[in-house]
């Protein structure tokens, strides 16, 4: 362990992602770079659904509110990982993007020279949470660097 110097961590606050964070922190050498990728799934764009009764101002209020909520959740999450990174003397950077999780991870992996991509495993069936799964088959075909999928904590 503690041997990787540049890690791309894909996490968005779920239990699986928390396990991935811990794994990333334990694998990085001191002074290593930890690039944190947070994907806001495109499903949020469809959250006004087929609403047609409200006027524009109500919909704008809702969009701003939802954006604020998602932003707050992302900030909290980034702060936590950043704090862990500082404690472990890692160089932390973050990237927040809107899109499909697998596509964004592939794109991000191409932007820099990473040693390893780390992510959590899919949520077990019956476990609560948003349904926005990383398409691992597409991901594994497209990635050119090693990928570590950390087991779900309860597994």
């Amino acid at each position: 362990m503690n041997s990787v110097s540049h890690v791309l961590l894909a996490s968005h606050g779920t239990e699986g992602a928390l396990a991935a964070e811990q794994m990333a922190l334990s694998m990085c050498a001191k002074g290593a770079k930890l690039h944190h990728l947070i994907v806001v799934p495109t499903l949020w764009q469809g959250m006004t659904g087929d609403d047609w009764l409200n006027n524009g101002s109500t919909r704008d209020t809702f969009r701003r509110y939802l954006e604020g909520e998602l932003g707050r959740e992302v900030d909290e999450h980034c702060e936590r990982v950043n704090k862990f990174a500082e404690e472990n003397e890692l160089e932390y950077s973050k990237e927040i993007v809107l899109g499909e999780p697998d596509e964004c991870l592939i794109d991000s992996s191409k932007r820099d020279k990473f040693d390893l991509v780390i992510m959590g495993s899919p949520r077990p069936k019956g476990k609560k949470g948003l349904r926005s799964r990383m398409k691992t088959e597409i991901l594994t075909r497209a990635l050119t660097i090693p990928l570590l999928i950390v087991p779900y904590p309860t597994q």
């Binding site: 499903l43 659904g49 087929d50 926005s132």
Partner: protein
């Protein structure tokens, strides 16, 4: 930012529309139209030879300008960027209404009637242009994605629906609006308050957070996604709670849009009964209009009833949002105080004022003379030879005439047989009563109804309004279909799915029982 995309898409849409018009007008489509008509008269021929020409020219001209012109930032650019998406929706609506839905009807009829229902499968399932249009929208957004050039225009669907509701205001009589309004206030009042209370009660028992209880009660109780959007910021709902609630409502709403017409057909509900049931029992307001048009695709009587219920719901929305805000503030220390006036002002549905204005205007006789009833009037001088009773029809009436007992009906029937058309407005009322009484048998009743239709005419403006309304709703619903993503529906789950299932089912079943017991077949 410049919104107008330099793309040939709008021009191509225009060319496709013009090609449809040309092929229909020149007779090239005649064999196919004959196939779609399945031995009957193809009812969309007049639309097919006019509408695509007008819109095709507009789309091709603006499309050329968008493709080759230069575009600058500003209001004009923003509005022009919505044309391509609007025309895209319109083209889908045209294709579905004129070709896809009739083709499905042909296939369904070739399969024969379903069991002893006496109905073809497409009638039973309500597979008409409205439902198929929404399905087409859902398929487009989820399988192909909305192209960039169409993104802005897809939002025009809301404008289409709201304009449709406003125009609908011109088709109500004062008595109809009073009766339907009263009925909807009682039904919606009872079921909205009942379901809001039920969600909060279930939520408290299942220990869900107040924010989730608040957003869920508005969504399940009032008008679905619209109520969720309006109430989420007020009760400070978490993002995951919003996703669960909207997913549950969308999934339930789309399911209801298919299931309600099937049940309505099986129970033989009248248009008024079905409109009242759909308006009360379906959680999401967009699917109320969809189900109403699915039940009666070639008329707007069901839609008229359902929309009154929808309007009542949306008028209740600001009150419920305000009440939830107060409820939430009392329970949460960190809740933000709300400004009552601001909530009422922001959430008030302005388009309802347009509906009221059109209704008020129609009562002044602007659209049709005041003596006309809902734009329809009696005139037996305009009956064409084709619509006069045939020898065969007269024979059927004579054969069944002895079943009639009342003297006024006997006399009206005798005059109808003698003149082969309804003799007067009084006779028309009498003979309608006779047909509705179902005394003379199915065949004779059908002839009486045919005779009634021959002397009842619709004012030209009202006829145009009806056609516009149908198109506006078709346009709006296809566009709304394009905003229903599987990604958001897949979020249905957690406590909202459980509570939504129980409350949604209870509301649908109870409102059906109430409608069947208390709502008359006509208003």
């Amino acid at each position: 930012m410049v919104y107008t995309k330099k793309s040939p898409a709008l021009f191509i849409i225009g060319v496709i529309m013009l090609a449809i018009w040309y092929m229909a007008d020149s007779g090239m489509l005649a064999p196919y139209i004959e196939h779609l008509a399945a031995g009957k008269k193809y009812k969309y021929l007049s639309e097919l030879t006019t509408i695509p020409m007008y819109f095709g020219i507009i789309a091709a001209a603006i499309g050329l300008w968008q493709w080759f012109g230069s575009h600058k930032e500003g209001h004009w650019d923003y509005y022009s960027s919505s044309v391509a998406g609007g025309m895209f929706i319109l083209l889908i609506a045209m294709l579905v209404r004129w070709f896809v839905a009739p083709e499905i009807a042909v296939i369904s009829m070739s399969m024969g009637k379903v069991g002893d229902t006496g109905k073809y499968i497409h009638k039973l399932l309500g597979l008409n242009y409205v439902v198929l249009g929404i399905v087409a929208g859902i398929i487009i957004v989820n399988v192909f994605k909305i192209p960039d050039w169409a993104q802005n225009g897809v939002r025009l669907s809301r404008l289409g629906l709201k304009t449709g509701v406003i125009l609908l205001g011109s088709l109500y009589s004062a008595a109809e609006l009073t009766n339907l309004g009263g009925l909807s206030i009682i039904m919606i009042g009872f079921f909205v308050l009942g379901s809001v209370g039920m969600v909060l009660w279930m939520g408290a028992r299942r220990n869900i957070p107040n924010s989730m209880g608040g957003v869920l009660s508005a969504g399940l109780g009032v008008c679905g996604v619209s109520a969720t959007v309006a109430s989420a910021p007020v009760v400070q709902a978490k993002s995951v709670e919003i996703a669960y609630t909207i997913g549950t409502i969308l999934l339930w709403g789309v399911g209801c849009m298919f299931v309600f017409p099937i049940i309505g057909n099986m129970l033989g509900m009248s248009y008024v009964q079905f409109g009242a049931w759909a308006g009360t029992g379906i959680l999401n307001s967009a699917q109320v209009a969809g189900a109403a048009l699915a039940y009666q695709p070639d008329g707007i009587e069901t839609l008229k009833v359902a929309e009154i219920f929808n309007i009542t719901r949306v008028l209740i929305l600001p009150i419920i949002v305000l009440w939830l805000a107060v409820w939430y503030v009392k329970r949460e220390e960190n809740a933000t105080q709300v400004n009552v006036g601001q909530v009422i002002f922001e959430k008030f549905p302005v388009f309802v004022l347009g509906f009221i204005l059109l209704f008020a205007l129609s009562t002044t006789g602007v659209f049709s003379p005041p003596v006309h009833y809902k734009g329809k009037y009696f005139d037996n001088t305009k009956v064409s030879a084709k619509k006069m009773l045939t020898d065969e029809q007269v024979r059927v009436l004579i054969a069944n005439a002895d079943k009639v007992q009342r003297e006024d009906r006997k006399a009206a029937l005798a005059r109808l047989i003698e003149q082969r058309k309804v003799a007067s407005i009084e006779d028309d009322a009498t003979l309608r009563g006779l047909a509705n009484a179902r005394i003379m048998g199915k065949k004779a009743d059908k002839i009486l109804k045919h005779a009634h239709k021959a002397v009842r005419h619709t004012a030209r403006k009202i006829k145009a309004f009806r056609q516009w309304i149908t198109w506006l709703f078709a346009f709006g619903l296809v566009g709304l279909g394009m905003q229903i993503t599987i990604g958001s529906m897949k979020q249905a789950g957690g406590q909202p799915a459980v509570i939504g299932g129980v409350v949604g089912l209870t509301k649908a079943v109870l409102s059906l029982i109430v409608v069947l017991m208390l709502v008359k077949e006509t208003i």
